[in-house]
Symmetry: C2
Subunit: 373 residues, 2 copies
């Protein structure tokens, strides 16, 4: 298959199951991607990631630009070789991080000037700079430089969207490598007319995939669903759709049934470092004293290394004593839960039972959430 | 073979290569044992330990008694099942930790009263209590409850040795499980006559293995070597000899050529958490800026996962950004270095070239140490 072509194998309602071809392997979709912000999925080796069936791994242009520097990563052969991940990779553009981590940022039509959150040094990102960084990093999928505006000020959101559109055009023009797929990003906050305008604008750029940004940033579940339902029907059928930064179990199911193909989120690994385990029936906080004598695995239905090997009582001991191994073991479980959920969704779509699967899943999940066991 | 029998396969000078039979498998000696203080070798999964050819793993009676409690570990089937380590295990008696971690300790002839370093609660260890804890934990090798006195006060060292002897007798009498081997511990500081007396006393107890304690606690390399040379000739040939808490590369070589079979040390994992890598030519501090662009593995001759997969530049990046993965990857390398060194020493003994091996090793090591590369 041609690199960056997307082949849909099955459809069930709005949901699709397909394959996206990259220079480092095939992404079977729907897919959940672990986040390796600084060229490491925290507390996990690439061998462990592979064992839990991760395919796509993210890294972060902003963080790697600051440390160790994208040119240094390039001198090591790019981010794949640097972190020893042989499968498909995606870098985000730095847009989101400049706005969420960069201090004293000044946005103008040309780009953003900001201070490093590490040492206060001044830096400037433009669409061209973001693409240059991402070309140095060398991921298979790179993202347009965008501005993700929080949805409480329509005027600001509209201006940010217009900038995002202008910057997307510049990213398309700046891109030089043909072994990377640039994805445009739809913005527009929680405003349906802006989302429609943005979907049409980004679609017209004809990038090999399209992302939906600016969701899971404080809006309600209903608003998120409404925005996905507004945007997806306007996107081309034959390109993968990536819902950025979204990745709770229910958000993944809710996204897939509305036609989303790719997800990523720091949630599973961040929760793991706080001793919280994700299951299909809600969360467990493994510091909780109720697990002291519990001989069950985190999730008796789970097939991950952690659940095959350790019980809740041992994990509670690691959590209580703040042992580093707890982050590793819970991260393995949490990532496996989401990666396996995406695989189960693939199967449900292939077997034309996505309605039944998602209804049952969401009912069970709602019933058990939010009280922590 | 009978459990806890020790079969010597080869001898070369004072060095021996053999096999110690335990209910959880055979220990090929000389062997280096990683330390899993709180039932976890920090930052490593049991699968990773197995991959780096660890055989014997330690855990700590004092720490597990305090958290999560030895009775709880027992209810989980013992420390093997609790931490999912299927190979041979050893617990130390808590003696060393009561004296190094316990606050406000009061020693009397019967035992030690101390306060927990965690919450200040009062506890009391006696030889009988230590054996009961270690029987709950269920390791293959358990240790006599001893007092490790620092070597600067002969009178105190002598008194502590006498207590250690009386306590060793009580440990032998208190022991009830026949699937555990109790090792006696020779003490006596840096005083040859005390060491001789202690070696003879402990030998007379006829335990299936004998440990040498109270070394690597501040004395010089020459004093350590002299004490080993004083003790070893008085020990029975057909029992394994365990040099407690000792484990730098040169100390292992120096121990093996003087007839030591078993070593353990927190050094390789503790150093790893401080970004220091052990090699046969000295240490590397991976935070050092000289490694920024270094495309070599930590040790080009090493076959561990870390050296097969990652270069110094990437590890320096992980160290600089304090990523958890650095502790995992450097621990894998450091432990592999010592475990492989013990295996190389086995081979050198089998091939009757321990003199040449140790002379070359120690010359290279001395030449490159201490300046950090």
């Amino acid at each position: 298959m041609k690199p960056f072509s997307y082949e849909i194998h099955s459809r069930d309602g709005a949901a699709r199951c397909g394959a996206f071809y990259t220079p480092h392997g095939i992404l079977q979709t729907p897919v959940f991607a672990p986040v390796g912000t600084r060229a490491t999925v925290k507390a996990l080796t690439p061998a462990q990631l592979k064992e839990l069936n991760a395919t796509l791994v993210l890294a972060n242009a902003y963080h790697l630009y600051l440390r160790p520097g994208d040119e240094l990563v390039s001198s090591f052969g790019g981010v794949h070789q640097f972190m020893a991940w042989e499968g498909p990779m995606l870098t985000d553009s730095g847009g989101f991080q400049v706005f969420s981590h960069g201090d004293q940022r000044k946005v103008d039509e040309d780009g953003v000037t900001f201070r490093s959150h590490i040492d206060g040094s001044e830096h400037r990102f433009t669409p061209e700079k973001s693409i240059a960084i991402q070309e140095n990093l060398g991921a298979d999928i790179i993202m347009a430089f965008d501005e993700c505006a929080v949805p409480d000020n329509r005027r600001y959101v509209e201006n940010a969207m217009q900038r995002t559109h202008a910057w997307a055009v510049r990213c398309v023009n700046a891109k030089t490598r043909d072994d990377q797929a640039l994805f445009g990003i739809v913005q527009g906050g929680i405003y349906p007319d802006l989302r429609r305008e943005s979907a049409d604008f980004i679609t017209a750029l004809n990038t090999p995939g399209i992302a939906i940004g600016g969701l899971s940033v404080g809006e309600s579940k209903e608003e998120m669903a409404a925005m996905i339902e507004t945007v997806v029907p306007r996107l081309p059928e034959n390109k993968p759709r990536y819902l950025m930064g979204v990745g709770s179990p229910e958000d993944i199911v809710n996204g897939v049934i509305r036609g989303i193909d790719i997800f990523d989120c720091v949630l599973p690994t961040r929760m793991a470092r706080n001793y919280a385990a994700l299951t299909r029936l809600g969360q467990l906080n493994l510091r909780n004293a109720v697990f002291r004598e519990d001989k069950r695995p985190i999730d008796p239905t789970c097939t991950c290394y952690t659940c095959r090997t350790f019980n809740r009582g041992y994990l509670r001991h690691l959590a209580t004593t703040k042992e580093m191994l707890s982050a590793t073991l819970i991260s393995i479980h949490n990532l496996h839960t989401l990666i396996q959920l995406a695989r189960d969704l693939q199967l449900a779509i292939q077997e034309q039972r996505i309605d039944a699967f998602s209804t049952e899943f969401l009912n069970n999940y709602q019933k058990h959430r939010p009280p922590e066991v």
